[in-house]
Amino acid sequence: MKTKHLLLVLITFLLVMPLGAQTADQILDKVDQLTSAPKDAKQTIRMVLTDRNGREQVRNAIIWQKGKDKRLIKFTSPASYKGISFLSLPNDVMYVYMPAYGKERRIASSVRNQKFAGTDLTYEDLQAKSYKDKYNARLLKKDANQFVLELTSKERSQYSKVILTVNKNYLPVKAEFFNRGNQKVKELTFNFVKSGNYWYAKVITAKDLKTKHSTRMEVISTQFDTGLSDNIFSIRFMKQ
């Protein structure tokens, strides 16, 4: 009898443990499937940067995205930022282009923790990479309305972990970033809306918890599946 009980406990443990791990991966898979569903997207965004005293700066940019791993961000205003571009390509290749210098610069891993053009997002945050490719996931909490996942980076990162809250529709609601000292340093909140067949983050707000500075990115217009050429995701286009 005792042996039977032990066997039952062991079988249950063996079944439950991989299921738990699989569930976190499955959730992350579903998040990726929803957030990267369009073949490509072109979005016009408005960024509002707010400092701790409530002073605001407004910037406008265009984001082109193709698949899960190609992204180009180009500022269109104000004048001092116009033309500044960030390009993220497969295999962790990232470039930044500053029109004043006329040359592109590959982003070294030491500077991936730097904030891009005064926003609250670092080059690492802006990298085009699916959650699944970027993180290992562990399910921390699950209830009727949401899942809470602990994500740890598969590669060298400025963050020790990210706590990702996902709603029952498998859309991210909130991401909390912890530094190497395990202090919560940044929080991203997402507001997803549906357009046609696709969900997209209409508003993303990034808040630096130390400086109380925030960046609110709102999508002004969006186009999906227009057949964006690979040429857009090139140094050539970035410099134009």
Partner: protein
């Protein structure tokens, strides 16, 4: 003023031609005020520049665009010396107009992924920071020697063929050669050729005249061209390049000295020219262990022997009657086909606290030539940004120059140029910087030692 009027007509014409497509016309620019005063000698103003940098970008039908960059400037302090000058606005308020760039770019020209750019343009080659030995297609703009690496536009035809995102080939042809422009204002003496003339012992220069021989007015004499292949291999960007060019700075061809009297006074007459050379270049950029690294080298191979001929006309007083004597000496500065190499190695790193450090080692500065005359430069900048780039402080910024390691105390220059940059709003940048110089020897920057300065500039982008 006439040129300014022509420019305005051009802009208006362009705007009206494409008026129906005005959404594709973008006019941007920058207003700059740059003021410097010396810290010694009762603080005279040493530099006054007010610049309107106007950029026009017009998308044209098809995959084409027109781009121009024009500087309209008031530079220097008015040189008013006579009452009659007061009748001339050009003297009281001198305006200088410079078309830095004006070109048409056609993408996918004839072939897919082939871009044609034709007109005045600045072609930036090299991976190093500002000091690029492989960048030899645009004349040096040495007007402000503290603005390292500034170049003027060249009238060129450029083809860029993109084999992939990582590989491209660039070919450049320039039918007209243009020389470098030399430093002005308080920096005007830095490259004055007279200081490089070494007279035989006992002789004193009483007068100096010079002749500058420009390349002949033919395509073969004027032509400058280059070819570059750029790629990405094993995590590193790299390029290989070749330029058939000319030195942008003049070089002594002959130096003729005529002894005038028994006291040893001589009249010196110098001839200058711009030697031809082949330039082989290579550069790379990437990162190792999280540190950004780059390197760049250029081998300059003179097309002909570079020889300076010194001729001394004197009188042999030991003869009676005294006999005129001519002594001729040829000094080979660089042999044909034997290269001298300039190179740069650099690294940058951002420390966890957000402190950014950038270091470069430069062997051979932009104006230096020939194997024995290349100095070493150790450049370092450390900066930190605060309040989301609103404030940037660079407490360490400058260079240490060594022109002779064996006699360092007499052959060095230290340039210390700390900076504070403040952005009160997104489009405005205010910079306050110091320039403290100390040096000994013949290095160009050593001559700055009496020109310590405080600099203040405001930029406004629109």
């Amino acid at each position: 003023m006439k040129r300014l009027a022509i420019l305005l007509i051009m802009i208006l014409t362009l705007t009206s031609i494409y008026g129906q497509d005005s959404a594709r016309l973008a006019i941007n620019g920058q207003l700059l005020t740059d003021e410097r005063l010396l810290l010694k000698n009762d603080n005279p103003w040493a530099w006054n520049e007010n610049r309107l940098d106007l950029k026009i970008n017009q998308a044209l039908p098809g995959d084409a665009k027109f781009y121009s960059q024009v500087w309209i400037r008031n530079i220097g302090l008015p040189q008013i010396g006579q009452m009659s000058d007061l009748y001339n606005k050009g003297i009281i308020d001198p305006i200088n107009l410079e078309i830095r760039q004006a070109y048409v770019q056609v993408d996918n020209f004839v072939l897919n992924n082939l871009d044609l750019t034709i007109g005045r343009q600045i072609i930036s080659w090299g991976t190093a920071d500002k000091i690029n030995p492989t960048d030899n297609l645009n004349p040096l703009d040495l007007e402000d020697v503290l603005d390292f690496g500034r170049r003027r536009g060249a009238d060129a035809l450029r083809l860029d063929y993109y084999l992939s995102n990582d590989w491209y080939i660039e070919a450049v042809a320039e039918p007209f050669y243009r020389p470098a422009n030399l430093p002005i204002g308080m920096y005007a003496d830095l490259l004055d050729p007279q200081q490089f003339i070494k007279l035989p012992e006992g002789l004193t220069m009483a007068s100096f005249s010079q002749t500058l021989v420009m390349p002949g007015n033919t395509l073969s004499s004027q032509f400058v061209g280059g070819l570059k292949v750029k790629g990405f291999v094993a995590g590193f960007d790299f390029s290989l390049s070749y330029v058939y060019g000319r030195d942008y700075l003049p070089l002594f061809d002959t130096l003729e000295m005529q002894v005038l009297d028994a006291q040893g006074n001589v009249a010196v007459d110098a001839n200058f020219y711009y030697p031809r050379h082949h330039i082989l270049g290579a550069d790379f950029a990437g990162n190792i262990l999280g540190i950004g690294v780059w390197g760049e080298a250029a081998a300059f191979l003179p097309k002909d022997d570079i020889v300076m001929t010194t001729v001394l006309h004197t009188v042999d007083m030991t003869q009676f009657p005294p006999q005129p004597v001519t002594i001729t000496q040829d000094s080979v500065l660089q042999q044909k086909g034997k290269p001298y190499v300039k190179y740069v190695l650099g690294a940058d790193y951002t420390f966890p606290a957000g402190v950014y450090a950038n270091f470069q080692f430069v062997h051979g500065f932009l104006h230096e030539r020939f194997a024995g005359a290349l100095n070493d430069y150790y450049l370092l900048r450390v900066e930190k940004s605060f309040f989301y780039d609103k404030l940037k402080i660079a407490p360490i910024s400058g260079a240490f120059v060594v022109s002779d390691y064996k006699d360092l105390k007499n052959n060095y220059t230290l340039l210390y140029m700390p900076q504070i940059i403040y952005k009160p709003n997104q489009n405005t940048e205010i910079t306050l910087s110091l320039g403290l110089f100390e040096g000994q020897g013949n290095d160009m920057f050593a001559a700055l030692k009496d020109l310590d300065l405080l600099s203040f500039s405001i930029k406004y982008d629109f």
